[in-house]
């Protein structure tokens, strides 16, 4: 009766439509294990001293103070903007330097522009760097540079490079092989091809990725201010919440960060639309 001997069946006898590849099975297993762990964790938490009927209204009360009555008490508006500038500066520095260094490393990592062993080596190193979270890199650099903005910039730079190398090199690999072949056939050398074929074909993608990383780095810079003493608005947030328990100030700072993030987003979209219409389309 079987229409074809190629039909695969699941254990239940129903006809399978998935490929049943190894990665799919690993994926299913991972999700199952994660769900089980989450449920187990809730069961094993220490709930002593937690009275939900009191905790929930109190949380709402705190949130109300935070977001409906925001105010600055420990520093002035001028200082607030200055600290915001520091945070933006951290994000900007690590993104710009990261993008420039990542560009050259990505050329080495792109399999169509580089030798196989160089590309493999760069990829492995970069994957390792990316696997370690930014905070950890900041703390590692803090050993040498001391906790502060230097370690924060270095750590963020490190992770930005690794992230952008992957993104950039994948963009480079999308370049039509035929274009590279055509230029090689004219006698053009590697640098000619990179500057006049690869760069124009991928520039908008590189820019989109860099903007995206800038947004990430802004968020990370806030966190680094709190976690690694990098200064900036994140440090003020840390002081307000962990030191003065000033909920109103926490609310104010949160609003400022939110507004800045929105302004950045609008700016980057506007810039892309104005200068790189194709990029705005492909990114959104």
């Amino acid at each position: 009766m079987d229409a074809s001997t190629y039909i695969k069946r699941e254990a239940s006898g129903r006809i399978a439509i998935k490929m049943g590849s190894k990665s799919e099975r690993v994926m299913t297993w991972t999700v199952t294990v994660l769900i089980a762990l989450t449920i187990a964790a809730f069961l094993f938490f220490d709930y002593t001293g937690l009275d939900l009927s009191k905790a929930i209204p109190e949380t709402f009360y705190n949130l109300k103070t935070m977001f409906l009555e925001p105010a600055l008490s420990h520093f002035t508006w001028g200082q607030a903007f200055y600290q915001m500038g520091v945070t933006l500066g951290l994000a900007f520095l690590s993104t710009i330097f990261g993008a420039i260094i990542a560009f050259f490393l990505a050329l080495m990592a792109a399999s169509n522009l580089s030798k196989a062993w160089i590309s493999k080596t760069v990829r492995v190193i970069v994957a390792f760097v990316r696997a370690v979270p930014t905070v950890l890199w900041v703390l590692i650099f803090a050993i040498a540079a001391g906790l502060g903005s230097e370690a924060a910039v270095l750590g963020m730079l490190f992770h930005s490079i690794a992230y952008l190398v992957k993104a950039f090199s994948e963009a480079f690999e999308e370049v039509d092989q035929g274009i590279l072949e055509a230029l090689r056939a004219t006698g053009a050398n590697w640098w000619h091809i990179v500057v006049h074929a690869v760069l124009p074909s991928t520039f908008t993608y590189l820019l989109s990725w860099t903007f995206l990383r800038f947004e990430i780095n802004f968020a990370v810079a806030v966190a680094m201010g709190a976690a690694a003493g990098a200064g900036g608005i994140g440090f003020e947030l840390f002081m307000a919440s962990g030191f003065y328990f000033d909920l109103r100030e926490v609310g104010m700072i949160t609003y400022m960060i939110l507004i800045f993030a929105i302004v950045l987003e609008i700016l980057s979209t506007k810039m892309k639309e104005r200068y790189f219409p194709a990029a705005a389309k492909s990114a959104n």
Partner: protein, 260 residues
């Protein structure tokens, strides 16, 4: 001495079955040569052995007195400036202007710095415009290449190869993606390259009739070997049957298809 000599050329990818085997032929300067054969016969591979876009495994290719397989990187770049190449999919940088794409043909003559900075002389730019005018697409010079029709893009490709001031132009199925009218324009331009400028043309084609009407000489390739080599008027049906392997069960319909 002929411009191009192919001697016992053999080639295989990944050490699998031979893609080309024991090829021998010579091409005189100013010749218009077509290579025909079914897909997979090794036509593209043969062209790429001539400018060493793929490594040569056996035998040798002698171009203009130099053995292509023995050149170092720098010498190879120099030889490639003398060999233009035209592709089925044009292979232009789509986001750049027509004139920029044409000038890409000059990179072979530039140092790294000159090339990276895009320093082209006024004479080179004038030459580019001259070629565009000759090919009838002068008015599109400042358009982005992806806004042009296929036929126009292929003419940009021809201009890019001509600005190299080549001795030979290799064309890999230049009209396979074009409609009959655009195909005719392209083939006429290629023909005039050989007739007016004396530049040799080797064209991979799969339309036998077009090959017969345009070329001085035809080489038929089947499974990596030459099965016909002669002036185009000598190519007859029994040859095309042999080239396309249709002699035994050739139905008229298949013949019709091949002979278009």
């Amino acid at each position: 001495m002929p411009l191009l000599q192919i001697k016992d050329l053999g080639k295989s990818y990944n050490s699998d079955a031979k893609v080309l085997q024991g090829l021998n032929f010579e091409v005189e300067s100013g010749e218009f040569l077509s290579i025909i054969g079914p897909s997979g016969a090794g036509k593209s591979t043969l062209l790429r052995c001539i400018n060493r876009m793929v490594e040569i495994d056996e035998g040798k290719v002698v171009f203009d007195g130099q053995e292509v397989g023995k050149l170092n990187k720098k010498e190879l770049r120099k030889v490639r400036t003398n060999i233009g190449m035209i592709f089925q999919h044009y292979n232009l940088v789509p986001r750049l202007s027509v004139i920029e794409n044409v000038l890409h043909g000059r990179f072979g003559y530039k140092t790294t710095i000159q090339g990276v900075l895009g320093r082209f002389t006024e004479a080179e730019k004038e030459h580019a415009f001259f070629l565009l005018k000759k090919l009838g697409i002068e008015e599109h010079a400042y358009k982005r290449c992806d806004q042009l029709s296929g036929g126009q893009q292929q003419r940009v490709g021809i201009a890019r190869s001509l600005i190299q001031e080549p001795k030979i132009v290799l064309c890999d199925e230049p009209i396979a993606s074009l409609d009959p009218n655009a195909s005719k324009v392209i083939m006429d331009h290629l023909k005039s390259i050989t007739q007016e400028l004396g530049i040799t043309c080797i064209v991979n084609l799969h339309q036998v009739e077009i090959a017969k009407s345009y070329s001085d000489r035809i080489i038929g390739l089947n499974k990596g070997g030459i099965v016909f080599d002669g002036p185009s008027y000598r190519l007859h049906r029994n040859h095309t049957d042999q080239i396309y392997g249709t002699q035994t069960q050739a139905t008229p319909e298949i013949r019709e298809l091949i002979m278009v």
